[in-house]
């Protein structure tokens, strides 16, 4: 029996890992766009990467990878831009205004660089280094809060690319708070309101894992790495 190709039906696969906020970005975006996709969990990401991942992302060997009609797209922000380039009839992540688009790209890069620096130090370091990481993290959240202003979302009235990029990290907040002994709500109340608002969206509540499970995972991960 020959396979019938239905117009509009395309093969979209995403390789991810359940704790990866970068993979969550892509899934949330696909949900918001109503694009059907198949999710593949890279189960042994840390010990034994799959042949599929190594074939699709030979340069970085990381998740997420989007595979569209057999072609791989890597790096979460690049994937988000690709999704907007291909599926833009119903909902676009980026603004139509080029200056707003540029600002969004700037802030995603800003946050990604910050979290790459501070994130791990908050749960893996101790003493002064951990404290410094926490301070830098809070400072960056405050800057983002400033960017949010009085709008419901970073995209203004619209749930936009910066919202999609940042919200997955909210499920790590509990972990950072537990390790560094602080409350993000106290430091950035407006941002926490934004987190609650985003969690009302179906795409977000469907995709984001339980923050307690993330915390458990990090505890286990530290043991695995031999960090106490």
């Amino acid at each position: 029996m020959s396979k019938t190709i239905v117009l509009g039906e395309e093969e979209v696969v995403i390789i991810g890992f359940w704790t990866s906020p970068y993979a969550m970005r892509v899934q949330i975006a696909l949900e918001e766009k109503g694009v059907p996709y198949q999710y593949v969990e890279e189960e042994n990401l840390f010990h034994n990467k799959s042949p599929l991942l190594l074939q699709m992302n030979p340069v970085h060997k990381k998740v997420p990878v989007l595979i569209h009609n057999g072609n791989p797209v890597c790096e979460s922000l690049i994937i988000l831009q690709y999704l907007d380039d291909v599926w833009n009839q119903k909902y676009t992540l980026f603004s139509h205004d080029s200056y707003e688009r540029a600002k969004a790209r700037f802030w995603v890069n800003f946050f990604d660089n910050k979290i790459a620096d501070c994130g791990r130090r908050m749960w893996a370091s101790k003493g002064q280094d951990q404290e410094a990481a926490k301070e830098e993290f809070i400072e960056s959240l405050k800057l983002l809060e400033g960017e949010l202003g009085e709008s419901p979302y970073f995209g203004g009235e619209k749930f936009g690319v910066l919202d999609v990029a940042l919200i997955p990290f909210s499920c790590r907040f509990y972990t950072y708070e537990m390790f560094c002994k602080f409350k993000i709500e106290k430091e950035c109340p407006k941002l926490m309101e934004w987190v609650k608002r985003c969690n009302h969206r179906e795409s977000v509540s469907k995709i984001l894992p339980d923050p307690y499970k993330i915390y458990s995972f990090v505890l286990h991960f530290k043991k695995m790495l031999g960090i106490d």
């Binding site: 340069v59 072609n71 790096e75 831009q81 380039d85 200056y99 688009r101 700037f106 890069n109």
Partner: protein, 217 residues
């Protein structure tokens, strides 16, 4: 109206030069402000309070920072001489390699030239990274027949790397190992528009030698 577009840059900065290249390729008039990076202007700090770095593009009084963010903005705003392809998959690939150069190659170049302890390991790493780019090239430029985003971002490899070789005596971009990259680098630095903008090789070598010496003293 040249005042509509302003660029805050610094001579010797590969990042700021990328924006000059893009603006010149598209024939955009702009006002250039040279920054002394050891004595930054209050305007620069006002326009880029977060990083306080060059380049900063100001268009209709709206500032933008980060060279790759600026390059995409320029391409979206002035559609002549496109530096990104139209096809979504080709665009994604171009963005990927541009990020690869800044996120992976640049730190390795930095360590290979400026750090004596980490040099050997950084050189090995840089060679492995450049192999990916070597494989990716199959035309005159990464952008195909014309200079594109990856070529512009690659200015650091085409022009700065050979200059650093003279200064630190570490040669990485050889014809033997990287025949395509070497040919590309020659095409790029001799491109009619690019060569008007690039600092001269001799001046760049002197500038980098000065920086290296002041770092080690």
């Amino acid at each position: 109206m040249a005042e509509e577009v302003k660029l805050f840059g610094a001579w010797g900065s590969a990042f700021s030069l990328r924006v000059d290249i893009a603006l010149k390729l598209k024939g955009i008039n702009y006002e250039y402000h040279e920054e002394d990076l050891f004595n930054k202007s209050s305007l620069l700090i006002k326009y880029n309070p977060i990083h306080k770095k060059v380049p900063v593009l100001v268009h209709h009084d709206k500032p933008l920072a980060e060279s790759q963010v600026i390059l995409e903005y320029i391409d979206e705003t002035w559609e002549n001489y496109p530096i990104l392809p139209k096809d979504p998959y080709e665009r994604a690939k171009a963005r990927f390699w541009a990020r690869f150069i800044d996120d992976k190659c640049f730190p390795a170049i930095w360590k290979a030239y400026w750090s004596k302890d980490e040099r050997e390991k950084a050189v090995e790493e840089l060679i492995e990274l450049l192999k990916f780019l070597e494989n990716e090239l199959d035309d005159n430029f990464f952008g195909g027949e014309t200079v594109g985003l990856v070529d512009i971002v690659g200015n650091i490899i085409a022009h700065w790397l050979p200059a650093l070789h003279e200064v630190a005596g570490v040669e990485i971009l050889t014809e033997e190992k990287f025949p395509k990259l070497c040919r590309w680098s020659h095409e790029f630095v001799n491109h009619s528009v690019v060569k008007e903008v690039l600092p001269s090789r001799e001046k760049l070598i002197a500038f980098l030698r000065d920086r290296l010496e002041s770092r080690s003293s």
